[in-house]
């Protein structure tokens, strides 16, 4: 297995070098950002072109990073979500408070919390860019947390069992998750790239070692 990482220590290759070479072995791609059109994505795409196994693969990346796909996959695999809706305009059945996530090609870190019904139409109009793109609307039922998930580990102790399951299902080595915590436990709302300095790289290094030794 080749480990490709933007953090040079311990890795076999950095993304730029990796992208110039043919690939003959399975690949573990470690990056804080796997978004489409970013280096993290190209590493996985390059490995796929050479027909080798790669973690994460491009389907897994897209399934995690595009909100409706994230929600559907979570539901199918028994990860708790709350009833999200894809909308381009306000319909009467939605009541604040809600979380909104833009589903367009341009926006990142797009979470907006709307706590009053009267603010909903304007916010949805803005986030949908005038009804051109859908917005993913999630009811707000708990306390919102942003956590960083690294190989199933979490920056928030309370969510450890949840991030472990998330990693099993989604196979994304590093990402930021937006979750709500309520009486029933953890609810998944969104996945986006982690900010590099928020990642606990010592945890990532330990996991990398474990994986390397296991091979």
């Amino acid at each position: 297995m080749i480990i490709v990482s933007e953090e040079e220590d311990d890795s076999d290759s950095n993304p730029l070098f990796f992208l110039r070479q043919p690939v003959y072995d399975s690949v573990l791609n470690i990056n804080h950002d796997y978004r489409y059109l970013r280096m993290g994505y190209y590493v996985s795409a390059h490995a796929e072109t050479f027909g080798v196994e790669v973690t994460p693969n491009c389907t897994e990346i897209m399934d995690a990073y595009r909100n409706p796909l994230l929600m559907e996959k979570a539901k199918r695999n028994g990860i708790r979500t709350n009833e999200y809706r894809l909308i381009t305009s306000v319909k009467s059945e939605f009541n604040a408070p809600v979380l909104l996530f833009a589903v367009n090609p341009f926006t990142n870190n797009s979470m907006k919390v709307v706590d009053s019904d009267s603010k909903l139409p304007e916010m949805i109009k803005r986030m949908s860019m005038g009804a051109r793109f859908p917005v993913s609307l999630h009811p707000l039922t708990g306390e919102v947390h942003e956590i960083v998930q690294m190989f199933g580990e979490s920056t928030n102790e309370e969510t450890l069992a949840f991030t472990k399951r998330f990693y099993e299902v989604f196979n994304i080595p590093i990402c930021k998750l937006v979750v709500q915590i309520d009486d029933g436990g953890v609810v998944l709302n969104h996945c986006e790239p982690a900010i590099k300095k928020e990642v606990k790289w010592d945890i990532v290094h330990d996991k990398m070692h474990e994986i390397k030794q296991g091979h």
Binding site: L19, M39, A45, R76, T88, P105, P134
Partner: protein
Amino acid sequence: MKIACFVEAYNFEIKSEEKALLKFKSTAETMGHSFEFIYKDDISRISDYDTLFIRATTDPSSCAYIISRLAEQYGLKVIDDPHSIRTCSNKVILHDIFQKNNIPSPGSVLFYGDYSHEIIGGIFKSLGCPVIIKTPYTRFSSHVEKASNIAEFIEISRHLLRKAKVLVVQEYVRSDFDWRVGILRNEVIYLCKYYIPKGGWKVKSKINGKNVWGETIAVSRDTISPELKDLSINLSKHIGTGLYGLDVKETNDGFKVIEINDNPSIYDGFEDVIDNDIYEKIISELVS
């Protein structure tokens, strides 16, 4: 069967595109299927259908990708499938596939913004002059530029790299037209010549500040040269079994593939003029 056709309002703006969409609908209905246009507000009810045909512009960042992937997961037959969208929408990934599989194509390198003498000199030495510069996500010939010297190369690439992480730089291959080879399930279903307008070098060129499209001339698929046919089918097999449109230049040195598109344009009175059974062929594939 219940066929969903995912479109956006702009698909009905050009008469010949609207007419083609209506031909798909009437063909499907004549064949005993229902055919319904659906829009982004209908994404969540895609599992109500048996098969999905996407005519809205595709890209991994678009709604079309979301509906394609959801439909695939619900077990619908899908054109364009998510893998084809991810692969064909990205020029960097296509560059990789062409190199790995020795697809005859213009000389091509990836450029990440290293402006050292060695790298820039190397590009012009290996590709000649002028060179073509493309972003990964070019569409309808936008973000495809020609640089005739190093100064132009630096200016254009710096500008494009503000949005893209990487660019594809290619040898310039001159031609009067691009062959468009329409492929479905790894068979040729139509053939056209997309002419380059006079005074331009792209099928859609800016001439005197105005966008001008070249002519489209349909050619019988039966007359395709064996070399072009083999090349096109072979490349399509590296992507999948969906509906594709290849752009290929014919040169003294043989055929050179420019790109393979998912979601190829099909307009009434253009691609369908000679091989007008493409509607039946596509509907049959969707319900197979």
